[in-house]
Symmetry: none
Subunit: 193 residues, 4 copies
DNA sequence: AATGAATGAGATTTCATTCAT
DNA sequence: GATGAATGAAATCTCATTCAT
């Protein structure tokens, strides 16, 4: 992709996120996204295979950014404890700072067809594996219990954080999401040791 | 509702669960549910307000059974530790024994419209509150940490268990779900203390 | 099909023929046909699988009527000569008397997708075989040449008649189609002897 | 048109024939033809007014070649009988030797819009008139019946040959098309005398 | 109470054609 | 002369719900 192409690609994804955040998943027609992006309906199909492809790409792109950010941040940590804290901190902080993105990825995109949800599941995998990696590190460093089942525990951590974010959104964001980091991490670390 | 009414009501819910389990959320037309239930399309609307009402009722009914079962079981426990274990045990065991129900409530019904998801959220609330109740009991009995944030922690527990079940289903149920109880409860109890 | 069903079925086919005759193949949207038939768009799909199914059914129905009529008429003939004459006579007369039908089956329906044209080809087969049957009869009665290739000749007859009808329609029906019967049959019978 | 222009013009027509033969009428987008011809989409419009113009030109070009060939060949014949034979012989032989062209002109191009079919009708006219010319010659030479209706008969001959070719293609070319010449001409000549 | 035939709104996607470069 | 990215109109079909019987 040339830089010009990339620009329009990103432009359409941004438009999709905005439209979905404003109108909900079922109120987000391709024509609406096209209008918001300032392109013709047909142009969408020069950049995406179909509507589903827009949504998958949107999820992958946003989650990819999150994972990149976490990865970068983790490199600067020394201990697995710190890494776990970083993960939760960035997870909660980023979604708190990007409410549109949070709303779209946590709520709207989940009410999609099974195929789309499977694709979303695949996009989540690298994140889950990132958590697993930290768990293994913690075990080998003897920070975490040696009897931890990393495959199970990664799900416990991800599921717990995911539910907290969703609940925060549904409640109407009446409290600080990043304010939950300490207590959440505290719970996690106790469970890991 | 007369007993005869109740019967047909349950009959339609059972049909809905079967049809959704077999054909997925989007392949589950009202007419198909009617056919499976052995009634005419129009009859459905004598028992339910609309399609959404069937699905909400289905979710409420199934989850209600689960909560009832947990409540009954908890009454026989002495400590909060035991209660937490019972919750996870029944949660995992019941869904493992009712794959259709698990599949429908964990996977299919979640790809529904926002309104429906909100209603489902409401149906989950009693369960979440049940967990909260146990947590409070544990704190007052000085089994759990006094600094626990029960509102947050109930989400952590529910989200973690929920993710484990979903992941087990998506993976193709290649391992025992009830086999995860010990490790999951272990993780929880450490976090709670 | 009950009689009531049959009625609406025929009603839709009649509407389809009228709409196609008036607006051409590409101007004949399902919604237009539904409107002309006085039913809702969706009702069409209670009687036909899809749009193509309407068109195939229309062709089959009309051609079926023609073949039925010819079959009935042939039973009253003694010789193969007479039968050939009857075929041509009914073919030309019927299409002359039902210009809408002629226009739709000769011109409009032929500009359809390959699948539809294949289905139309199948519908024509009984007619072609009817001609073949007469040819065989003529040969066995020693009215026609014994060296006739019936598989080839049936095509020659059908193709010739078909072209005459199409040409008559495209010319704007400036002359009598039934007026071509004698000369056409004359040509055929000489070729057959 | 300069020679260079002519070249690209022919190049696009060849590409069109190939693409239609391979993908069918409805699978033949302008962009596909452009790609096959090795030019940009826009370039097509420097040589043809629109898509229809390509198809009409294609049909005219191919049929023109056939008529030219027949005309040249007829000049070498003495009698109208011989000429009729030549017409049928070249018609069948050429299409048998150029299956792509046969397929495109007999099957694919006929499922086109009415305007296109009318233009195709015009392209066929010189061929029909060529047949008419031979018929008149035969009558004036007293080889053919003086009571022949040449306007009608030319249609009978063309329609008959056309149907034979189409049927041969649809049947999957399981027999020799040129092998039908003798029997076809035999039928024609008897009818003409 | 039960039926089931009829309704009708609503959105994705394709592709011929244009025009700035 | 050549390019190819962008345009935007247009139609099938599904399915929740109703209501006359």
């Amino acid at each position: 992709m040339t830089s010009k192409k990339k620009e329009k690609y990103a432009q359409i994804l941004d438009a999709a996120q905005k439209v979905i955040a404003e109108n909900g998943y079922h109120g987000s027609q391709v024509s609406r996204i096209a209008k918001e992006a300032g392109v013709a309906d047909g142009t969408i199909y020069l950049y995406f295979k179909n509507k589903e492809d827009i949504l998958i790409s949107l999820f992958q792109d946003r989650l990819g950014d999150l994972v990149d950010m976490i990865n970068a941040s983790i490199r600067e940590t020394r201990t697995a404890d710190e890494a776990i804290r970083k993960i939760c901190e960035i997870h909660f902080t980023q979604l708190e700072q990007n409410v549109d993105m949070a709303y779209v990825t946590q709520i709207e995109l989940r009410q999609s067809s099974l195929d789309l949800r499977k694709a979303i599941g695949l996009a989540v995998k690298p994140y889950i594996e990132l958590i697993e990696h930290i768990l293994e590190k913690g075990i080998s460093e003897q920070t975490f219990r040696p009897d931890l089942d990393v495959k199970l525990t990664r799900l416990l951590l991800f599921g717990a954080m995911d539910e907290v974010v969703t609940s925060w959104l549904i409640s109407g964001r009446k409290y600080s999401l990043s304010g939950q980091v300490d207590k959440t991490v505290d719970f996690f670390l106790r469970g890991l040791k």
